[in-house]
């Protein structure tokens, strides 16, 4: 393809939506910050649940403890996301 003219690089639709190559919009930064926190939370929670299930000696406390953690965490996540519609628009 040596005789073909060079095509200018075009960012993907996602990058355009987030205005990645310009100034990041406030809502986009919030969205990515939330993504980072939630990914960290997910990894952390999976590790903690692994320890609960492996080492809690089949205690009756394990499942309620995990359930309460997930319920409160998801409630807080929902609260954090409730004002950020860009996050929802990316998911849909």
């Amino acid at each position: 393809m040596l005789n073909q003219p060079l095509q200018p690089f075009t960012p993907s639709a996602l990058f355009e939506k987030l205005n990645f190559f310009g100034t990041l919009s406030e809502s986009a930064m919030v969205t990515w910050a939330l993504y980072a926190v939630f990914v960290f939370w997910t990894v952390y929670t999976l590790v903690a649940i692994y320890h609960w299930l492996k080492y809690s000696h089949a205690s009756w406390v394990a499942f309620p403890a995990i359930a309460v953690h997930l319920f409160i965490s998801f409630t807080l996540m929902f609260y954090a996301l409730s004002g950020d519609m860009l996050f929802l628009s990316l998911l849909i």
């Binding site: 406030e26 809502s27 919030v30 910050a33 939330l34 926190v37 939370w41 952390y44 929670t45 590790v47 903690a48 320890h51 609960w52 492996k54 080492y55 809690s56 000696h57 205690s59 406390v61 403890a65 953690h69 409160i72 965490s73 807080l76 996540m77 609260y79 954090a80 996301l81 409730s82 004002g83 950020d84 519609m85």
Partner: protein, 178 residues
Amino acid sequence: MKEFELEPGEHVVKEVRKHWFLFLSGLLPFAIIAVIPFALPKLLMLAPPLAPYASLFDYNTPLMRAALGVWLLISWTGAWNAFTRYFLNVWVLTSKRIVSIKQRGYFSREVSSLFLTRVQDVTTDVVGVLPSLIGFGTIKVQSASEEVEFIMVGIPRPEQMRDLILRYVSLEPKTTGI
């Protein structure tokens, strides 16, 4: 028990964790951290030069709502981590031995056993006003070999636990440990 297998005729007598007061004390920093976003605007209002900054804490805006949600999520996860560590650290007294299970952190776990036949001395230590009033303290179990000493810190009703250990020690035939 996944950490150790019970021998034939051996049964679990008691599982002990740290006193609930120590657990709640460990939660206190997380409670304070969680309250900061709500208390800070009110504290700023008390200092006239800083009062204009109180308006920054408007949790109706998406940014502040997200920040508050993440702040509380981190606080909650930290508190849950404290509970996880509280629950996974346990001492188990069986009819033949004492098992200490220490969960220092995730993927860092130590399980050690001391057979009752090797127990030489059991000491309780309750120091301070709160431990005396609420009823928690330290138990030191000295084994026949001088290096091995089991220390249970902050367990509830240490005297009862000591008596329980000594009762089962007296039931076990003494060995030289050789």
